[in-house]
């Protein structure tokens, strides 16, 4: 694969893209670069992906490289593992992260472990893309975020873009990576017509290729009083909360961007400065991102840590009814409340 270009920086672009367009931009570029890259999923050809994850790619690359597959996740995700072990660079899409249960063995026993179990003699350079998140009342089987599941099981890198700029850079990095990468995009950030995005994910995106290295968190907003660590949709909700608190509490917002590898240093440095930590996640609270971030800070900088709050889905399946889903899905008010409770 070609060597990663250096990051040209957001300011160099004069076009703005939605997150889905930015993802597609990177995929198209990688497919032009290498015949080894191809995309498999359900409704990714004529439909262009239910969440526009492959919109327009069929026209340029045809049905051999943008492949609609039977609703057989075990077969096609496993086939991606096999093709990757044969030296190709497949991208396989599971339409909703909730559906990963159908093919979990291929994900956590094959895709994730073959490099290790083979003593490093084979590797699995594939990308598994999947849509996550609720906020649209689709209930417990179509709204999960499941960051913790993938990040918990060793052998998979896990990336979660929150903006179009990051979506492109992380996709380039994911395709070029020699390990399996799970690329989890939040439906609400994609910029699709029927699910309006908040302010924020649509950003300038350079034409040229660039990578965002996996394992580098992004300090989205600097502040001295409280560190808010989050990812995905909740980066935007945290920024909104920080704006609301301006004048009272000076909030620093960190976008993790990748869970594996995890940028402990950026988080710990921030807490050393602020002394206060709020972790926000749309995944379930227990045994997840909030626990992990808190534990890492507690291990590395116990003397700096004055107080911690976790804001996550409180260990219930995502309910359907609007008032119920609003109750369990963290919003900016919940983040404001958590930050205020520390001061």
């Amino acid at each position: 694969m070609s060597k990663p270009a250096s990051d040209p920086g957001e300011g160099s672009a004069d076009r703005e893209l939605t997150m889905s367009r930015a993802m597609v931009d990177a995929i198209a570029s990688e497919m032009r670069e290498s015949e080894d890259v191809f995309y498999m999923g359900e409704d990714v050809q004529d439909y262009g992906g239910i969440f526009d994850s492959t919109e327009g790619l069929l026209d340029e690359f045809g049905r051999d490289r943008i492949m609609d597959v039977p609703i057989s996740e075990t077969a096609y995700v496993g086939a991606a593992v096999g093709a990757a072990q044969s030296g190709m660079r497949p991208i396989a899409e599971i339409m909703f992260a909730d559906f990963v249960g159908v093919c979990l063995d291929q994900v956590y026993n094959q895709m994730a472990k073959n490099t290790y179990m083979s003593g490093g003699s084979v590797n699995v350079p594939m990308v598994l893309t999947t849509a996550v998140g609720g906020t649209y009342n689709d209930a417990a089987q179509h709204s999960q975020t499941l960051y913790g599941l993938f990040a918990h099981l060793p052998g998979m890198k896990v990336v979660v873009p929150s903006t179009a700029y990051d979506a492109k850079g992380l996709m380039h990095a994911a395709v070029r990576d020699d390990d399996p990468v799970v690329y989890m995009f939040h439906k609400r950030l994609m910029g699709i017509g029927w699910m309006p995005a908040p302010e924020g994910p649509k950003t300038p995106v350079p034409d040229e290729d660039y990578t965002i290295p996996l394992g580098e968190a992004n300090v989205k907003r600097e502040g001295d009083d409280v560190t808010v660590v989050t990812l995905g949709l909740h980066v935007h909700r945290a920024l909104e909360a920080a704006d609301e608190l301006e004048g009272d509490v000076d909030v620093e917002v960190i976008d993790l961007r990748t869970l594996v590898p995890f940028d402990t240093e950026t988080v710990v440095d921030s807490v050393r400065k602020t002394g206060n930590l709020v972790v926000v996640d749309e995944d379930y609270e227990s045994f997840g991102v909030t626990s992990e971030v808190t534990a890492r800070v507690a291990e590395r900088a116990p003397e700096a840590l004055e107080a911690v709050e976790r804001v996550a889905v409180p260990d219930v399946p995502i309910p359907y009814s609007r008032p119920l889903e609003n109750e369990v899905n963290p919003d900016s008010d919940d983040i404001v409340e958590a930050v205020e409770s520390l001061k």
């Binding site: 239910i50 609609d68 609703i71 089987q141 029927w194 260990d315 359907y320 008032p323 119920l324």
Partner: protein
């Protein structure tokens, strides 16, 4: 059967209208009276009514994410189902399940929002009946797009090898969202899948409700008499998009037109007329059905939304266990 199909059709058409309330002019899936996705089954009614006509209350049905017509045919409470779809407290699932996840234990009806995943639980219900020497049967519904799933194929095998009273009903509408059948499998019809499991596979073309009724009588009878499972494959027609908001740009116009033209309900009405049923009687059945649908929708609209705190209940049977997780 006619009452069931006209109730289901009118219900779907009215839900379509209610769904669009609050979502105009710019379509926003999370806005309006009915939030989330809505998958309608207009054009599938014969597969539901023709099979469920042979079922008793104690028989189990598992439906996929397009469940309303099957629920109606199985006798699920229409008011409480509608309240669930509107996310109300008195809905079948207290507002937690929504339209893809309807549970009505009173008539042994359940759903799953994930393709083919209702098949194994149907096998389990049949297993329970078998172990208890009861003569109830289980019916698993799925779409033709789901017949490539492991959960379906493994369920066929388990039901066959254990000779369990299960009927698998494939509603073949030709489209798995945007994928026409010929692009996802080389097996000509879903019924042929049965061949690999030493199980009868029966295909009913032209969503003919009477033909479905006759084929299902044999299949359900075989199951109830201890003669094992059957795969019943019913051609249906998708009259609407995969979900509300699906513009179907991938679908040829002639295919959509064909679905509109071939209407199982009109075919059934014609059959009934030929057997001497008067138009007046058919009209009366239809008008009664429409009234029941209106009543259910109006009743559901008047129901309260759940209290947000209810979100924490029902994770476990023992509520104190649920309280140990989550925000303190």
């Amino acid at each position: 059967m006619y009452e069931n199909v006209v109730t289901a059709r009118h219900y779907e058409e009215r839900l379509q209208e209610v769904y669009l309330e609050g979502k105009q002019p710019a379509f926003d899936i999370s806005a309006g009276t009915i939030p989330g996705e809505l998958h309608l089954a207009a054009g599938h009614e014969a597969a539901a009514a023709g099979v469920c006509a042979h079922l008793r209350e104690e028989d189990t049905v598992t439906a996929p994410h397009r469940p309303h017509h099957v629920a109606i045919a199985k006798g699920v409470d229409l008011r409480r189902m509608t309240a669930e779809i509107l996310g109300r407290e008195t809905g079948l699932c207290r507002g937690k399940g929504g339209h893809m996840h309807l549970f009505d234990p009173d008539v042994n009806f359940a759903c799953s929002g994930i393709i083919a995943q209702g098949c194994p639980p149907a096998v389990g219900a049949a297993m329970a009946a078998d172990k208890r020497n009861e003569d109830s049967v289980a019916v698993a519904y799925l779409g033709e797009g789901a017949v490539d799933q492991g959960a379906f194929l493994e369920s066929l095998n388990l039901a066959a090898v254990q000779n369990l009273p299960v009927v698998f009903v494939v509603e073949d509408n030709d489209w798995a969202i945007s994928m026409p059948q010929e692009r996802v499998t080389d097996v000509h019809t879903p019924a042929e899948r049965a061949d690999g499991f030493d199980m009868p596979g029966v295909r009913v073309d032209h969503d003919d409700a009477v033909a479905v009724y006759e084929a299902a009588r044999d299949a359900v009878g075989r199951a109830r008499n201890g003669n094992g499972p059957t795969l019943l494959d019913v051609q249906v027609h998708r009259r609407m998009g995969h979900f509300m908001g699906d513009a179907e740009s991938y679908r040829p116009d002639e295919d959509s037109e064909r679905a509109q033209r071939l209407d199982a309900i009109e075919r059934l009405a014609e059959d009934l007329r030929e057997h001497g049923v008067e138009d007046a009687e058919l009209n009366e059945i239809r008008e009664d059905a429409e009234e029941r649908v209106e009543d259910a929708i109006e009743w559901a609209r008047d129901q309260p939304e759940p209290d947000p705190e209810d979100a924490y209940e029902d994770v476990f049977v023992d509520e104190t266990a649920a309280a140990s997780g989550g925000d303190d």
